[in-house]
Symmetry: C2
Subunit: 534 residues, 2 copies
């Protein structure tokens, strides 16, 4: 197969004005549909095709991702990328537009070329989502991937009683009517009391209830970020925040962390050079590193933000999940913080995620804008969840719940750390991985020895029945294949121990393979996840 | 006061690179703060200042709106715009940045100049929101404004029983855990059954549950609209849809309606000239006009969309609120519709709004993109509302509910129409207003005789204790002061009759005033709503 010829513009009628990835996509699509590329034939690797066409590998990746999502090709780590057999292509749920049956009536094209209609925002999301690893095929896997609190801690019985009492009360109807866009007054009152415990005293015009903290990020992006605006964030950072900023076509500037948090020397030299619209940080128990910003760094960060007049979005997503004695105050509560910090929190991690409730605290001018963006996005937050939660908070049950989950999650963190020391302590493994000891939150962040890759390791781990999140997806510009993130709150201690035991076995298999094969030639291939959208 | 001098760039150090509205804003702000403009002094009207500066009146409106929202000035219909007294300025909740107290520590400016940080998206929303009328000051008003179903029809008792049964069942925890981003499987199954009744047979990969139909619009805009893209919509249209498109910086192209729906001659000549990304329509019981698109128009619209390859967003927000026998099928169910129509519906209008649940039906490729946008916006929809609604649908209670509310709302529509014929039938009033007879939905659309203005009429109506929505806010480019929208589902028949009686009284007062005064010189002043953001 002459690939240069295949992608030649004149012969195949491709549009020269299209971006390169689209030309590759349609060139290969046409070749498959015409039969020029036969079933199961092997495509060049990203690297080969990129070298051939003298373009960036990410361009090839994007084209392959689109082809894969249209069900035309299939990628297998270590084997390569192949044309799907026709029979399989026909069975795919996500048909490409070209494969759909034509409508018999009417004189116009039966279907749209949707791909050309999608916004830059949607393209950016699609590009990023391709970075997520495929879901493991085994169902008996012990998962340290993700970061979701499990059912055993949901306060079902208390919620049950509360719902009953609310529905029997005179104003049951308010559970099913619109809430004010800023949130129900009842919940706002209780959230303000809760915030006072974190040293945050906010006025009525400084608080907005949101449908979970992802919406908080979305609203803040909405009111500050125009395409091309600069957003500065910790590197690595929260995956869905990166997606959100990129979907708004922000330029994202990654700043590394050291053991006290975001590096202010790098931050200042960036802020001095270019005007930033927003600085996004997670000072406590950061996602994914689990690291906490020191007190000195917090104070210096506010000072720097004031100097360069950059609003800070402080994501305090696990502020209540503290396992030690030392609790550092949120940026919003520190001197000067009130005027420059937009503080965000959620009940999804410490309580349960299905309520979809969080909050934003911001200066009044900003809150007024956030409220407008909220209305434009979804008018208001669902009432029933707000009122249940308000009553739960009012009765003091959340504080009691926190005492309980803090102890439980601390025990799980300790079990994971102990299992690591135990199973990764021998001569062979101890030099191959290091890991963090977080003081709160959900995650342990581990680092492999040079030359090892978390994506490759994940294949072996899944074969052993354990999984984790590869760290590269959290870095703004990819790379950093040496990191992995493990969530310790989702599984009870005995299962954590079993999971780490499996991880140690997987590491031994991986190291054997590395020794046996030359793995270098497969390390460049990211696995493509076909089912991510399903 | 020499206004040209006041806004002179050199003397006052204003930035010439700023947009004109911002120069006016800061010029007046500085003059107020310096005392040059004294308490209670009168500002020129929009028209006067626009003529003086040779700029558009909307630019002046925008500047005055910002000043008003910072609490520096105050507008009164018929009297004019005035500098707020200092004491009042200090008491305002929404302080402008300049008025906030400085933080004592640190060497940097105490506060940000937030206004310069806000995105174009946020500015566009703020501009539009200023068009909304102020909330009436009286609390005993009979309101035909808005469009929200009232509590009396919420199925509280059935929901109560359902919640109890769900919470006692083995899988109560799923009410508080994350739902899949595409919606809970349980609700999706029931929504698919519901859609079949509307002739829509959609696959699993064609359905997305959303947090109310406003989020549906937001997600569709997200995946299709880049800044500058063309969105075509009916004129007038749904206020919050216009806000959403404008906030994404779409170019919005308004197309007039005739008695069969959107005018295809105008639509085609526009589509032939420029490439549109999206066509937004409400074929049944349109907001605000209550009009329904004819069957012939529906078929021709799909044909036209296919010819010009423009996706249609069909907002079927009141599809279940049908009061006659003839029910026209949604566009999505018509031949060719499946491939080009994104169909949207909600339970907010026919059931209750606080659940915040709706759906989108779209081709699989589009649904996959919408799902990504959903994740990026708020991860997933709250579980408890989804599961309650699913069980309610599964038990067939929604169909029974619909029988009941259709009869009730039809009776209310009939009561309003009858009251109109009765109270607006005499020689004086009958020539001053005409009104529509909608076959479904929420709204009656009325038109005043030439020379009368709904905004002015609203002032008299509120004095009589009745309100409505002035029609101008629904037109993309404003104007059309002759229309008003009245919602007939919010109030029971006897109150509707009383409301229309008051409206007739208000009309008489208004006509008297018109005769007595020369109202022409106040008709250009839109009322500014100070409390819209609260």
């Amino acid at each position: 197969m002459d690939w240069l010829d295949l992608l030649n513009v004149e012969e195949h009628g491709l549009d020269r004005t299209e971006p390169m990835y689209a030309r590759i996509t349609s060139g290969i699509r046409k070749a498959i549909q015409s039969g020029e590329l036969t079933d199961n034939s092997r495509l060049p690797t990203n690297r080969e095709l990129a070298a051939l066409l003298k373009i960036d590998r990410s361009t090839v990746s994007r084209a392959y991702l689109e082809l894969s999502q249209s069900g035309l090709i299939d990628s297998h780590v270590g084997r390569g990328t192949f044309v799907r057999p026709l029979a399989q292509r026909r069975r795919l749920a996500f048909k490409s537009a070209e494969e759909m049956p034509a409508v018999s009536d009417g004189a116009w094209p039966a279907v749209l070329n949707w791909t050309e209609k999608f916004s830059e925002s949607s393209r950016a999301s699609l590009d990023l989502i391709g970075r997520q690893p495929a879901a493991p095929e085994r169902s008996d896997i012990i998962s340290f991937a993700g970061g979701i609190p499990t059912e055993e801690f949901y306060p079902n019985e208390q919620f049950h009683r509360i719902v009953n009492e609310l529905l029997q009360s005179a104003d049951a109807a308010r559970m099913f009517g619109y809430s004010a866009a800023e949130g129900s007054h009842y919940l706002r009152t209780e959230v303000k009391k809760h915030l006072l415990k974190h040293g945050i005293d906010c006025g009525d015009d400084e608080l907005l209830i949101v449908s979970g903290s992802q919406q908080g990020i979305d609203l803040v992006t909405n009111i500050f970020v125009d395409p091309g605006d600069l957003v500065v964030l910790e590197d690595p950072s929260y995956f869905w925040a990166i997606c959100n900023f990129r979907a708004r076509q922000a330029r994202c500037l990654p700043i590394s962390l050291d053991n006290e948090g975001i590096r202010l020397d790098l931050l200042e030299s960036s802020l001095a050079r270019q005007r930033a619209k927003l600085l996004y940080v997670m000072p406590s128990y950061q996602n994914p590193t689990g690291a906490t910003m020191s007190m000195a760094r917090r104070i210096a960060l506010i000072d720097l933000a004031r100097k360069y007049q950059v609003p800070i979005l402080e994501d305090n997503f696990v502020g209540d999940l503290v396992y030690g004695d030392a609790v550092l105050p949120p940026l919003r509560s520190l001197p000067g913080g009130k005027d420059i910090v937009i503080h965000q929190g959620t009940f999804s991690k410490a309580l349960c995620p299905g309520l979809r409730l969080g909050w934003l605290v911001a200066p009044p001018e900003v809150t007024a804008r956030l409220l407008l963006a909220k209305r434009t996005s979804d008018l208001s937050t669902n009432s029933i969840a707000q009122i249940i939660l308000a009553k739960y908070l009012e009765e003091g049950l959340y504080s009691k719940h926190l005492e309980h989950v803090r102890l439980s999650y601390r025990a799980r963190r300790d079990a994971m750390l102990k299992a690591f020391s135990e199973y990764f302590s021998d001569a062979e493994l101890s030099s191959k991985m290091t890991w963090s000891s977080p003081a709160g939150g959900l995650f342990i962040w581990a680092k492999l020895a040079p030359g090892l890759s978390a994506r490759e390791f994940l294949n072996f781990a899944e074969m052993e029945g354990v999984s984790f999140s590869p760290g590269d997806i959290f870095f703004l510009n990819g790379g950093h294949s040496e990191y992995l993130r493990l969530c310790f709150i989702q599984t009870e201690e005995s299962i954590i121990v079993e999971g780490i035991k499996r991880l140690a076995r997987a590491m031994r298999s991986y190291l054997e393979s590395v020794a046996r094969l030359n793995l270098a030639d497969i390390s460049g291939k990211a696995r493509v996840r076909n089912n991510v959208l399903i």
